[in-house]
Symmetry: C2
Subunit: 184 residues, 2 copies
């Protein structure tokens, strides 16, 4: 069976995500990835085809972990879920600000096309989950139309996390937005 490797794919992804998250694809070097993951280039290249492949794997891993948080699938469905999603969906843990996926959208021009697919599929999923929660509140406006707005607002909140503004102001802003939604 030969020598066993002393890292797991999961482990590497876990540690690589914050690096790409903060610096993006272009400005992240293999050296940084080695340092952050503790895995040598040899290891990284046996596990991943190249830097692009590793990036896409990170993106998938990130989105799966976000899905597991399940803010939009908690019963009962409704505005409360939407509000939670907006409030604590975008992360605020040190280097990890906003949403890795939204950040990546800026870099599509230089990212493998696979990344585009991963992000758009996830957005479609979010859109459906949002619509499901909105549907439950029986608003006058079409749930899918409201869901679209929410997703855009969410994307805005995410990139704004790159600005150092207070958490309270963000919370207040979300509550105002929710007030507007509830009247639809």
């Amino acid at each position: 069976m030969g020598r066993p490797k002393n890292f797991s794919r999961e482990e590497v992804l876990e540690k690589a995500v914050p690096v790409f998250w903060k610096h993006g694809f272009a400005d992240t070097s293999l050296q940084e990835l080695e340092r952050a993951t503790g895995v040598n280039k040899s290891g990284l290249y046996t596990e991943f085809r190249d830097k692009e492949d590793l990036f896409v794997a990170c993106l998938r891993h990130y989105l799966e972990s976000q899905e597991k948080r399940g803010f939009l699938t908690r019963e009962p469905f409704g505005w409360k879920n939407v509000e939670t999603f907006l409030k604590i969906g975008p992360l605020n843990k040190g280097e990890q600000q906003g949403c890795f996926s939204v950040n990546s959208m800026r870099e599509f021009a230089i990212l493998p096309s696979e990344a585009y697919g991963v992000v758009t599929e996830n957005r479609a999923l979010l859109q459906r989950l949002l619509a499901m929660n909105i549907e439950a509140e029986k608003p006058r406006m079409a749930p899918s139309a409201i869901a679209e707005m929410v997703l855009s607002f969410f994307s805005g909140l995410c990139i704004e996390r790159n600005l150092k503004s207070g958490k309270t102001s963000s919370t207040r802003k979300i509550e105002n937005f929710m007030a507007a939604l509830r009247s639809l």
Copy 2:
């Protein structure tokens, strides 16, 4: 007086903006900038301190040109101006998608701190102009609070321009959002 240079600072900025806009700072090479502007490195380096300096100059130039479009200063102030701002503020000219300034927010980690200042100042200005227009409609909610929401929504629309989605869906989304605002 010596040999006269055969380019103007304006010209260079005009041609460099789309390059940074599309590729961001990290992934734009001096070579690309030479090609796009038609100005040799010698020329670029006599006009600008370094790549960072050129980038910040591009950002300023872009924001000034956006201000000149003046969507938010047309009389009479009101929802119509806000709607116009959302609809045709984010550009859609080939490589130039969304907003250069919003795109740049993703890269603050590697951008000169000056860039941060330029962007935040501009956002503060937008915030004031939006509030001014909203104020004119005398809504029940605080104009500055509504302005905050609009700016976040705008930011979201801008990064979403990196996805290839139809223009009509964006227009419909904005109209729905405006409907929500008008009820505040």
